[in-house]
Structure formats: structure tokens, C-alpha cells
């Protein structure tokens, strides 16, 4: 239970950072932290105390009750790849914004109003 709460706390840390930070790079990092917390959560769901790797072998037998759940691990791989793409896109946008505005401060990046 503590682990779950800590993961949720990490999620909230990310959300807090994304909302309150003024630096573009810190916002990108905060969004990354949110993503990691959800990945951790997915891995925690799959974990089972004392279970083995989910590979069917002859010596260990084929008892799914003794294995960790392999599905969330597959999901986490996909979601890590998606987050990599998002982070790369956000960083590219931040670099282009720096070229145009010459600042990383979000309060100075505001030509859109209304």
C-alpha cells in the first residue's frame, strides 16, 4: 500500500511541477515525472511477492499463479516509447521557442492573448 501511495505522490509531484514551474525545460521534466509514476504504477499492479518471471519452462512447470503478470510490462514498454516521442517533440518545440523568444521563461512566452 505504501508503494502505491508513494507512486500517487510522485504523480502529484509531476502535476504540481507542470502547473507551477515557469521554466519550459522544468515543465517538460514534470510531464516526464508524471509519465514515470504511471509506468511505476503499472509495474506495481503486475508485481506479486515471491513470483517468478513469466516464461514457461519445463523445469519450473507452467503455473501462471506463480508468475508475475506479463501484460502490464508490455504496456509499459509501449508507453515508454510514446513518452520518448512526446519528450523529443516537446524539447524540439522548446528549442525553436528559444530561438524565437530568446527565453525559457513561460511568463515571457505569451504573444497569444484573449
Amino acid at each position: 500500500m505504501t508503494l502505491y501511495l508513494m507512486t500517487f505522490f510522485l504523480f502529484m509531484v509531476g502535476l504540481y511541477g507542470a502547473i507551477t514551474k515557469r521554466d519550459l525545460i522544468k515543465i517538460i521534466l514534470a510531464v516526464g515525472i508524471m509519465g514515470y509514476s504511471v509506468n511505476l504504477f503499472l509495474i506495481l499492479i503486475a508485481y506479486r511477492t515471491g513470483a517468478i518471471y513469466p516464461i514457461l519452462t519445463k523445469s519450473m512447470g507452467a503455473n501462471p499463479a506463480l508468475m508475475v503478470d506479463p501484460l502490464p510490462q508490455a504496456l509499459v514498454l509501449t508507453s515508454i516509447v510514446i513518452e520518448l516521442g512526446i519528450t523529443a517533440l516537446l524539447s524540439a518545440l522548446a528549442i525553436r521557442i528559444f530561438e524565437k523568444y530568446e527565453t525559457f521563461d513561460i511568463t515571457k512566452v505569451r504573444r497569444l492573448k484573449g
Binding site: I27, G35, L75, I82, G85, I86, R96, G114
Partner: protein, 498 residues
Amino acid sequence: MIIPYFVIIPLSAAFLIALISRKKENIAAGIALIVGIVLTIMSIYSFILLSKNEGAIYYHFSNWKAPVTISLVLDYLSSFILIIISVISLIAIFYSLQYTNHYTGKWQYFALFMLMISGMNGVALTGDFFNFYVFMEITLFSAYSLVAFGCEAEELEAAFKYAIVGSISSTMILFAIGLLYSFTSTLNMADVGRVLLNEKSKVIYLVYGMLIAGLGLKSALVPFHAWLPDAHPSAPAPISSMLSGVLIKVLGTYAMVRIFFNVFNAPQIFLQIMLILGTFSMVIGGLMSIMQWDIKRMLGYSTVSQIGYIFIGIGLGTPLGILGAIFYLLSHSIFKSLLFMNAGAVEYALDTRDMRQMGALNKKLPVTSFTSMIGSLSISGIPPFNGFFAKLIIIIACIQSAHPIYAGWAILVSIITLAYYLKMQKHTFYGKPNFKKIYEKVPFTLKTSMIILAGLCIISSILIIPGIKEVTLDKVTQVILDKTDYIEYIRPLIMGGK
């Protein structure tokens, strides 16, 4: 089987464009146009095909059994959404042919456009939660890039905001999916619904909250709307019309209806929240758009306002309310695309978006002026056009289900809508000329696409004539009203598997 090709064709077209047409950009446009036509024919054919297949067709990846594998589900609601996506994107591609003359890297534009279509088709078809998340990310990824396509300072700023808000909401949705998986041990939407029918837990309210926040951010409901008036106007005009006309409805409205009605059996708390948020969106979006002078920004706030109508119809939960929401979804995708294309044509000719630097354009740009008038009348609800019937159905549904307050708000906002569109007409196409000069004529494909959409504004009204309504809109409404009938198909498959 026709279903997987809705994703395969645009996806392979995107990579084909990136591979072969870097130097020859006309080939990129040609491929995009062919894909648009093929998808339109396929989506209309799929609607006809459904009547022969008892209203639902399933496709299971790799021929595994249903709850284990990813399944694609085509029913009337998906098919209806596919038709909207295909028709609007075909017209937007046709509009882009000459509109993109101002941009460099045409092939990148069309490749991203194809990627966006494949993602949206996937979202409309998928029957699996994680697959839904993946297709949603594909759509959003190309949408962020397309918003920033012009690489001007404002466009980059808007794209950055959109990308941050979009990834926060996606993370929330993934968190909700993780919670659902831990509770039900399955990711198949129908199977999740089946488990939830029997077992209740308090954790489901956390899932509701995360999904309403996540999907609400996607569909720009007030208080989650702040990114939309920045992001949608900053994109190139055909992309604005795709984002405002189709994308927020597929990722927001459709996903919400599918998940909350067909999987969660329309919980009362969800309907209440939708009514309240819908009213707030309607009123605040309407009031904000009166104050705008940027023509596309005004249309962006107008989208926030009009999306409120759809959610009020959904929140009522009555057959008439759902019918109104469905018809308004269709109508709004037509006339909002038209209005964004009008704004794009004006921007193409004058190189400005400020309404104070326009005026008396009805002589100079007659086609744009005429179609924009039709779009404005349609969105403000003037009788022969589709917007009138859609708003009327929603207002009648409000009164019928004993919610006269919401009906009052809907009528009031309809008047506000008329006010700001009259303001747009007066300052843009009538009144005194304030523009410096007309740089370029509006090209052929821009005019043609605007005329087609203006025609659709009138033609789509026939969908609610009794007789035609029974075979089109009523079947879509029935899918939503049947609620958890959606999960029935999974039962024989599970029984057979064990």
C-alpha cells in the same frame, strides 16, 4: 474483412509519402487525395454493410480469441464517426492542395495529415483500452506537429501549450486504464464492462474522475478549455477545420460516450457532471468569443461554446437528447470546418486575421462571403440549415426531460452565437473597407471545398426527415441508448474459451 484497412491504408500512405515523394510534392498530394476518396467510399460502404451483419462487425488481431487479443469493433456509432472523419478530411485535403502553396515541406504536411487520420480511425474502431490510448497518442502527436507547422513564434507557443496539456491528459487516461486493469484484469472494453456489471468498488469513482478530466481536456470542456483558443487558430486553416471539426469530437465526445455509456452503463453522476460542464462551456465560450477580434480565435472560442450543446444533449441521457447530440455533432463538424476554411481563405487573400483590418469583402471575395454567410446562419440556428434542427432537438429534449433551466441557457447562448457571428459578418464582409490590399485571389480548390461544405450544411438537414432518420441517425442513437448491450458480444466468446 474491411475493418483493419481503415487504419492500414492511411498509415501506409503516411510512410509511402515520406519514402517516395520528398522531391516530387505533387505525388504526396495525389496519394493523400486518393486515400481520402477511398476512405470516404469505404466508410459509407461500412454503414451499409452493418445492416446485413446485425449492427456489429468484429475483427480480432492475429485470430486469437476476444478477451485475450486486441479487437476492433465496428458498429453504427463507429461507422457514423468514420463517415464524419472521412468526408471532412477528404474536403480538407482538397482544400490543402492549393492552400499549402505558401508552405515549404508539403510532403511532411500530407504525411502528418495521413497519420492523424489513421489515428482517429483507430480511436473510432478500437475495442481495447490500451489500444485506444496508443491510437490517441498517434493522433495527438501529429496534431501537435501540425499546429506548429508554420514555425512562427505564436504557432510554436500554441503547439507547446497544446502538447503539455495533451500529454498531461493522456497520462491521466493511462492512469485510469491502469486502475481499471488492476480491478478487472482485462483491457477489452466489453470485458471490462462485463466485470463491472457484477462487481462494484469505490475505486471506480477515481477512474471516473481521471477519465472525465482526461477526456474533458481533450474535448475542451470549460474549465479544461484554455488550450483550444490558442492551438486551433494557430494551425493552418485545413488543419484548424480538422481539429475543431473532427479531432476533439473523436477523442473527446466519441470516446466519452463510448466509455461511459457502453462500458460503464451511463452512471448518473457522469450525466449530472456533463450537464453542468456543458452549460458552463456553452455560456463561457459564447461570452469569450464576443470579445475577440482575431477571426480564427473567435471561431476557436465558438467551438468551446458549441461543444457544450453536444454535452448537454449527452448529459440528458434521453433518446431525444442523444439524437440531438449526435445530429449536432454531425452539423457542427460541417459548419465549423466551413467557417475555418472561410477564415483561411480570407487570411490567404489579405494576409491578416484581424477583423478590424477587413470589411466590405463581399464584392472582392464573393464565394467566401456567400459560403461564410451560410455557415454563420447555420451555426446560429436559422431555420433551413442543419444547425437550427440540431439546436431545436436539444432544446425540446431539455424541456421534455424536465430541465427547463438548461433549455433557457441553450436559447440564450443561441442568441449570443447569432450576435458574434453577425459581428464577424459585419466587420469582415460588409461595412466599410479597412483592408490595405488583396494580395492574392482565392484559388480554385479553396472555393470548391467551401461550396461543397456549404451545400452539405443544407443537405444534411434531410437526415432528420422521418423515414430517412430511421435508417441513419436512429440506429446511431440506438447504439448509445442500448448502453451495455455493447458487451453482450463478449459473453459467448468467453464461455467458448473456457
